[in-house]
Symmetry: D2
Subunit: 92 residues, 4 copies
Amino acid sequence: MDPTARADAIHRLKSVAGHVNGIIRMLEEDRYCIDVIGQIQAAQTALSRVSEGILDAHLRTCVTTAIQGADAEERERVLGEITEVFRHTNRP
Amino acid sequence: MDPTARADAIHRLKSVAGHVNGIIRMLEEDRYCIDVIGQIQAAQTALSRVSEGILDAHLRTCVTTAIQGADAEERERVLGEITEVFRHTNRP
Amino acid sequence: MDPTARADAIHRLKSVAGHVNGIIRMLEEDRYCIDVIGQIQAAQTALSRVSEGILDAHLRTCVTTAIQGADAEERERVLGEITEVFRHTNRP
Amino acid sequence: MDPTARADAIHRLKSVAGHVNGIIRMLEEDRYCIDVIGQIQAAQTALSRVSEGILDAHLRTCVTTAIQGADAEERERVLGEITEVFRHTNRP
């Protein structure tokens, strides 16, 4: 992966880890359930932003290289992975 | 789009339209709310399957052509669209 | 269900059925894949709005009645259904 | 919240925090993008399981108490929050 995209992803994930630890403290302090759920949803949103950044970098590097390459099977494989990632995120 | 993928998408969407009309009848017959919500979620799942099929066909045709082409701006555009479709589906 | 909530849900579902037929026409006219996917996502969003309205009406009628009632098993049942609806919508 | 549900949520969140740190290491080791995205999606799923458990506990305690209580405004408030949590999770 492109070093800038990777550094950005690591930075965001460190922030998510801190966020999750903050949610654990909310539970230990017996904070209101709905507020805790709100923070869990915010952490999930932050994780979505990370995977979008990684997918974007992946499309511009690995996928582009594979599609411009001569190996038809490899092209098939990388495109199938993109559909699979989309399917997993999409409503089951 | 590839004619087979298009025919498949049209076939599935006709089935979704019939499904939605069935849900309208459930409401007219005052069926149990949770059962109605279950059918709405099933229709949403069916729509996800349609968009996955279309994305898959799009990757194998338009996106592959653009990435193998000489126009850097066009490559950028089609890849940005894929990230955008993923972002829209991903948790907001 | 409350008649106003039901009429609203039916009205929205008729609009979704029309929307889905419009997407079928887009495919028949061979419109751009990404635009078709965008319209499918919009139809899914419209369906989410319908199920939210139905859930809201359900909470204010059936669920409230059950929880104020004397039947512990029935209370358990209606609350379990709410968690189940949430689980189905939540990331799998 | 019920102490058992709270302990379960804290236990699961500690596991998610560990999972996120594992994903950071995957990025530092330059692991394959699609595998990283798969792990991010798994962490999001784990977070969904936590919020479902908290919602379930909340329905059985605070919501049940409020609905059985005499304060109509409070009943309105807790039910509105449930719809809001559902709306946030549902497709935007």
